[in-house]
């Protein structure tokens, strides 16, 4: 089959690789139809996440058709499913608590020593996201092996096209959980750093959850325009001092909750971020937390800090004094996607959530390497890229005929 493979920093290629096979009883094999490139894939592309090996297949936002099932899978051949990016066993203490991204069993023993050493306990398995999280092949490919297919995949109704449900795999529930972690109350103002796909879905979710105002911060005009279109007020940090602007816009109180949807590769010209960049080059720190610092300093006293942005290692000048003295609460984590699949699918079916407004480009899987370069270099123009396999184009024709017949 064809698949997008990682070979080093800024070096990804579409290669011919072996097809996946059923290995364990709960496995299923999907023929992928759509697979998106995630903002967090850029951390791999830029070489910030350790534990990558040349030849790894990337991709953790995908959906497709079930073509093979293991004896313990609950799926049936021919079903159309969307797959959560964290792999969860459904049986351990954490899965029973619905903390699916903390699953105790899906990171194989061979690959879990690193996170056990670095974080204290081994992290769950994730598709296509380095050997720290299991070293599973990802879904930017024609076929993918889905372990524990009895737990993760959601069967989606045929009348909803791929683009409407694809983002249930990651960015929609991630934005939703980011807003949920703000514990929004009536009258609240929520400030969101980063208007990438997760930031945009967090804005939409916060407004659905009853936020009075959402203020979005970025520097790409196209992305800020999308935020505005959703109903947010916007700040271009190149035009205004964000902390001052937020305080002034909220009557000197400050936003009640803040969302860092940026993560470890923060942009921005400021002394702290330049120092972070210099230290990161010398491996004195791994994570640049400029957006996070600004969020902690901007949020009101007694406010809430929600962090969907990805961090991996260590940071410098964490404003722990402001954090304690202001009495803040922080909630964060990889998204417990499985928890949100059904309620969010319902909102999509009812037309209450728009999931397609942010897609700027569709491209065939064959052009995936080129698309990574655009995703990295042209973040203003490329707001979300969806890769389509050949299976997607051959599959859609008979379906249209069916609709005509009906």
């Amino acid at each position: 089959m064809r698949a997008l493979t990682w070979h080093g920093r800024h070096d990804v290629r579409v290669d011919t690789v072996p097809d996946p096979e059923i290995v364990n009883p709960h496995d299923a094999i999907l023929r992928v139809t759509s697979s998106a490139i995630c903002g967090s894939d850029l951390h791999l592309y830029d070489g910030y996440i350790p534990g990558m090996r040349a030849g790894d297949i990337l991709g953790h936002e995908f959906m497709g058709e079930v073509v093979e099932v293991g004896p313990q899978s609950t799926l049936k051949k021919g079903q159309r499913v969307v797959v959560p990016f964290p792999i969860a066993c459904g049986q351990c203490f954490f899965c029973h608590k619905q903390q699916y991204s903390c699953c105790d069993n899906t990171n194989p023993v061979e690959t879990s020593d690193a996170t056990e050493f670095q974080y204290g306990y081994p992290m769950a398995g994730v598709f296509g996201y380095s050997h720290l999280t299991g070293g599973y092949a990802g879904g930017q490919a024609e076929y993918v092996r889905v372990p524990f297919s009895n737990v993760g995949p959601l069967v989606v109704p045929d009348h909803l096209e791929d683009d409407k449900v694809l983002f249930l795999s990651d960015i929609l529930p991630t934005g939703w959980m980011a807003a949920e972690n703000c514990e929004i109350e009536p009258g609240d103002t929520v400030a969101v750093w980063g208007c990438g796909p997760v930031g945009l879905f967090a804005i939409q979710s916060a407004l659905i959850m009853g936020a009075h105002r959402v203020i979005a911060i970025d520097h790409y005009p196209t992305r800020l325009a999308l935020a505005k279109q959703l109903g947010a007020e916007i700040l271009d940090y190149r035009e205004v001092d964000v902390r001052e602007a937020l305080a002034e816009m909220t009557g000197g109180i400050g936003p009640d909750a803040v969302i860092d949807a940026v993560g470890l590769e923060a942009h921005g010209i400021s002394i702290d971020n330049i120092l972070d960049q210099v230290k990161a080059m010398g491996f004195l720190v791994t994570d640049r937390i400029h957006a996070f610092r600004e969020a902690v300093l901007s949020v009101r006293k007694g406010g809430r800090v929600s962090v969907p942005g990805v961090y991996g290692g260590f940071a410098d000048k964490f404003p722990v004094g402001a954090f304690m003295e202001k009495g803040l609460t922080m909630k964060t984590g990889q998204t417990h996607v499985h928890r949100y699949l059904k309620p969010l699918l319902e909102l999509i079916e009812q037309g209450k959530i728009d999931t397609t407004f942010l897609i700027s480009h569709h491209a065939p899987l064959e052009q995936a390497a080129e698309m990574y370069k655009h995703w990295h270099d042209d973040q203003n123009e490329f707001t979300k890229i969806v890769l389509k396999t050949e299976a997607a184009t051959t599959k859609q024709e008979p379906k249209e005929q069916q609709h005509e017949l009906a």
Partner: protein
């Protein structure tokens, strides 16, 4: 040329000074840490034996252990562990375990360079849903003791499974050094084997990342590290 020479000389001096400071700091920290090891014969911590620091009264040479929680009833876990012949399913370096009857078993263990080592054990303690302990027979090639204890840590936290193993460290000063290195291995092995056991009992399968890659040396049905 002269400039380059003095520059590289001063660089070397700087690196030397940096190293000296680092070594000094490490020495200071180690000295402080060893002074921190507290033993006045009055041990008060409520921690299990295998976690005690060297130089404390409860430290036992050669004792390693690991605990995992498994989301299943004690009876089920006991039954699974009591059947030694299933061990190769989750113990990486155990080729086979043969039941010889009367609580005796013959283990075939993978050793370096493709050879194997035989281990003869006898069950020394067997309390259903609570404890299983075994000890090597005198004629065994390896001398070791092991114990599995099942208990509850707190409500709704499943069953805690604690595996402790003890082996006889070789005598003498060089023997102690070797033992120190060897001690790591059973500990890592115990941790990995226990996690695989947990996966198998909780989910019915041992998780594997076997899947395709662009690496020619790998097959999509083999686990990768």
């Amino acid at each position: 040329m002269a400039d380059q020479w003095t520059e590289s000389k001063s660089n070397k001096a700087l690196i030397g000074a940096g190293l000296a400071v680092a070594v000094g700091a490490a020495g200071f920290l180690l000295a402080r840490r060893s002074a921190d090891v507290h033993d006045d014969g009055n041990n008060i911590s409520d921690a299990p034996d295998h976690t005690w620091r060297r130089k404390t009264g409860r430290y036992q040479e050669g004792l390693v252990g690991r605990t995992v929680s498994i989301n299943k009833p004690r009876e089920e876990i006991y039954r699974a562990w009591r059947d030694f012949t299933r061990f190769p399913q989750f113990m990486e370096n155990v080729d086979s375990v043969e039941d010889l009857g009367d609580g005796r078993s013959r283990w075939t263990i993978k050793a370096p360079l493709g050879s194997t080592v035989e281990l003869l054990t006898r069950i020394t303690d067997d309390v259903p849903s609570d404890t299983i302990a075994w000890k090597s027979e005198p004629e065994s090639q390896v001398q070791t003791e092991g114990r599995v204890e099942l208990f509850e840590v707190a409500p709704d936290r499943g069953t805690a499974v604690r595996l402790t193993m003890k082996y006889d460290p070789p005598a003498g000063l060089p023997g102690r050094a070797i033992a120190k290195v060897l001690q790591r291995e059973p500990n890592v092995q115990a941790r990995r084997d226990l996690r695989r056991f947990k996966q198998l009992i909780e989910t019915g399968e041992v998780s594997t990342n076997a899947s395709p890659s662009a690496r020619k040396s790998e097959s999509p049905t083999q686990a990768r590290i």
